[in-house]
Amino acid sequence: MILFYVLIFPGFLFCFIAGLLLAGIDRKLVARMQRRIGPPILQPMYDFFKLLGKETIVPRAASRKTFLIASTIGLASLVATALFIPIAGFSAFAGVADIIVILYLLTIPAVSLILGGAASGSPYAGVGISREMVALMSYELPLVIILLSIGKAVGNAMGGGITFSFTEICAYQMSFGPIISKWSMIPAAIAMLFVIPCEIGSRPFDIAEAETEICEGPLVEYSGTPLAVFNLNHAIKMFIMTALFTSLFLGGFSTGIFALDVLIFFVICVAITVISITLLRAVTARLKVEQVFKFYWSVVSGLAVLSLILVWLGL
């Protein structure tokens, strides 16, 4: 049973398909917004399988073992996160990890990217990982505040003071309706919508993988299967972040049929992707790293703190 959860649903296969579909939909919609036809929706899957067929070159200056396993660690932690986040109310391993653990687990893919870049031995990668780290520092602050305010809001209502556990949040949303319907949590929801593109690394916050500036940043020396896995991580992260948003803010619906629930969940994830990732990507240019940092630590954190204070005042 565990293997089924790990490999099929909501583990590897489900994340694979969902993540690559989301990435494909995102690319297609960006193209449509730019008045062109764009690649087919399954394009990221073609990319993935093509890369599996290429050779992997390990540069002389690279630390070989770290270079090769960095991507797998990111993938493993993303799939583990998928197992703990309640997808349509169903969490494969409830009781093993709570919100704070998920917060840390979400930093592991970024760290795996950074390790991979560090192990490449290239100066472009060095600059890339420094930028990725600054981006990580900038979006962690609002994310932390958002999670704490959710914990307090749910804890208030469920009578425990605070709670960090996912099962309680789901139960709360089942009885009281989605968290976003509380008006004090709307600033937090908006802040989270801003956090998502930075965590995924899409414009205007894709400073870490700036193609034209630093030649793809941390991934500059990667080719073949490790590159395929890194791209897969990128796509799955889209899915994980939107799933996190959906389960935290938009949960509480249930049609009774599990497969239909999952489908609705996925459709909502697509909608969130369109709103927070695709729209921004199509219309903005890239921000510099210090602008990203300033934006997150002033505007987005301000929104999240507003929510925290409102929740604390009992509203």
Partner: protein, 638 residues
């Protein structure tokens, strides 16, 4: 027999120190003596685990058999209750591993008999501090360890800045010791006794202005020893100048000794932790230490200075957690104390290994060492992930407990300020991660400079203590329930229940007799707001990783498709991509990373840069300002 083990644990170290002086010139004999002393001390402490931690006894040892006479404690006593033993275990593990490391590490220096003598004196002093039961004995031990640490900081007196760092440490250390001495003297003059248990009872509900002054002085003195803000710049200097095995002791053990002192003063002696403003000031100091430590660390260019600033930050975590005065808080704080000893020790040992191999700790000059020293790189990564608090290493468990503790405290008090402490703690954790990514990129990954192309892996005698510490880090992270049951929970119980301690030392019923009431025990139960089961998580992670190796193997016959260069090859295919240019050395300098972050906070960093002027009079001025502020503050709140 067990009764004698505490004093033996201390005396063996001092005896070892004296014997080292005698047989100093003979290298083999000296090493044997040193190793035997440290090992014997650790064994004595280990034997004490079962009766104290598991069975809940408190061992009291009166030197010279001067037991209390007519309810008056005249003699010096050593008391080992769970809290003492907890810190003693921490000390003995760190001392043993650092000592074994220094056999090979210091082999290139000379006058080693002086080094080992001082090292054993330092260890003996700390062991005495954590095991003693009366104030003046604690002061003596503090003096011993301060002077030994100062001398060891200056040990490599040919290197630049060592003597200056030692002098600064001496000045600030003496300020701290003097505060402790004056506080002790005031208390003695009031109550005519120095025994902690007796003083605790006599002070209860009996606070006069003189005793409040003594409280402030003692608290400040031990805060100096713990190197919290505003006494922290000295620790950075001292740690950077001292040999790495001594840095382990200074930053891991001496700071914990300061924390131990603070716990004893605040929780036991004055039993005043239920005063909200006192909790507030301790949490404030802790939070400031956390934040200032990590932001200063992000700006450093020197490996060991950076590690020292991180020490300050982590001690800030411990201080914050202890200042909360809830059972969950103290649990988190103590757990973090032992975790910090383990992972910071590992990190300093790695820094020592790098210094041994390359001769420098300047981040701008190092790079790419993981190719030549892979095991050291792996150990460093374990330490880095532990300190950043990534699951499943030990730092995560203790930080998780601390976050819950601060957030629950916020709820309990209805005060949003503690929620901001949680937020700051989480953000500091991410910044710690950033800082260690910077270090690993600057030291281990990236491009190897030409002058280090021939460095060799760390010698095995140095690697063994590093591996042991790494194993302990991983173990403490994976098996927190054992750590909690055998080490932490008994210690927390001891902190919360003063009565047990007093009864064992002065005889049962003493507290009731003198003070007329029984000693309250605070609740040591707590409920966690979330859950974390590391073993199941790790098993899951392992399954997932195996699954993926299978997947990647099938998706392209991995072993056939990976191509790398032959060892002496010059095929341009395996060059780093430089837009077509030939391969040249252009490692991104360690101090150039995180430019965006430093740019945005440049006003803060300018202020900090000017404030940390390096002038010892400034630091002494800070110390006195802090002292006066605390005096005024405590007089107001009590």
């Amino acid at each position: 027999m067990i009764q004698h083990f505490p004093i033996l644990a201390i005396m063996v170290l001092f005896l070892g120190a004296f014997l080292t002086v005698l047989c100093g010139k003979n290298k083999v004999l000296r090493n044997i003596v040193v190793f035997a002393a440290m090992l014997a001390s650790s064994v004595f402490i280990a034997f004490l685990i079962k009766p104290i931690m598991i069975d809940g006894e408190v061992i009291t040892y009166w030197l010279g058999n001067w037991s209390p006479v007519a309810d008056y404690a005249i003699g010096i006593c050593l008391v080992v209750d769970q809290l003492n033993l907890f810190f003693a275990i921490l000390v003995s593990v760190a001392v043993l591993l650092a000592g074994v490391f220094s056999f090979k590490y210091m082999s290139r220096d000379d006058t080693l008999e002086k080094y080992f003598t001082l090292f054993l004196m330092l260890s003996g002093g700390v062991m005495g501090l954590v095991l003693s039961g009366d104030l003046f004995n604690m002061f003596i031990m503090v003096e011993i360890l301060t002077f030994a640490a100062v001398a060891l900081t200056a040990f490599r007196n040919r290197s630049e800045g060592a003597l200056e760092a030692a002098f600064k440490y001496l000045v600030i250390g003496v300020i701290g010791s003097s505060c402790i001495l004056i506080g002790t003297t005031i208390l003695y003059s009031q109550f005519h006794t120095l025994n902690l248990a007796q003083l605790s009872v006599l002070l209860h509900n009996n606070l006069q202005p003189a005793t409040i002054l003594a409280f402030t002085l003692l608290l400040t003195g031990f805060a100096v020893k713990a190197f919290v803000v505003p006494f922290h710049p000295v620790e950075a200097d001292a740690n950077a100048a001292a040999p790495s095995s001594v840095s382990v002791i200074i930053s891991c053990v001496l700071t914990k000794a300061g924390i131990y002192g603070i716990i004893r003063i605040v929780y036991f002696l004055f039993r005043s932790m239920n005063l909200a403003p006192l909790q507030f000031i301790l949490v404030l100091i802790g939070t400031l230490s956390m934040f200032i430590g990590v932001t200063m660390a992000l700006a450093q260019k020197d490996f060991k200075r950076l590690l020292a600033f991180h020490s300050i930050s982590q001690v800030g975590y411990v201080m914050t957690a202890i200042g909360l005065a809830t059972a969950l808080g103290v649990t988190g704080g103590l757990y973090h104390a032992i975790n910090h000893t383990l992972f910071k020790g590992l990190l300093f040992l790695c820094a020592g290994a790098v210094f041994y191999a390359t001769g420098t700790t300047n981040l701008d000059k190092l790079g790419g060492l993981a190719k030549r020293m892979p095991q050291t790189a792996a150990l460093f990564l374990i330490g880095a992930f532990s300190i950043s608090g990534l699951p499943p290493f030990n730092g995560f468990v203790s930080k998780w407990l601390i976050y819950q503790a601060t957030y629950e405290k916020a709820v309990e008090f209805g005060n949003i300020g503690y929620a901001f402490v949680t937020i700051i703690a989480l953000v500091v954790s991410v910044m710690t991660l950033a800082s260690f990514i910077k270090v690993s990129q600057s030291v281990f990954f990236g491009q190897l400079p030409d002058e280090f192309k021939e460095v060799r892996e760390t010698p095995v005698p140095m690697r063994i203590p590093m591996w042991i510490m790494a194993a302990l880090c991983v173990g403490a992270g994976l098996l927190p329930q054992y750590m909690m049951r055998y080490l932490i929970n008994p210690a927390v119980y001891a902190v919360m229940n003063v009565g047990n301690y007093i009864g064992s030392v002065m005889g049962p019923g003493y507290a009731e007799k003198i003070a007329g009431q029984t000693v309250e025990a605070y609740s040591s139960e707590f409920a966690l707001a979330g859950y974390w089961s590391p073993i199941s998580w790790l098993a899951l992670f392992a399954i997932i990783i195996c699954a993926f190796f299978i997947v990647s193997l099938s998706g392209g016959k991995l072993s056939k498709k990976i191509h790398s260069d032959s060892p002496s090859g010059l095929d341009p295919k395996y060059d780093t991509f430089f837009s077509g240019e030939a391969n040249e050395h252009s490692q991104v300098g360690g101090s150039d990373l995180f430019w965006g972050f430093k740019h945005n906070l440049r006003h803060y960093f300018d202020f900090m840069h000017n404030a940390h002027s390096g002038v010892i009079s400034d630091y002494a001025l800070w110390a006195f300002c802090f002292l006066s502020f605390m005096i005024v503050y405590l007089f107001i709140i009590v």
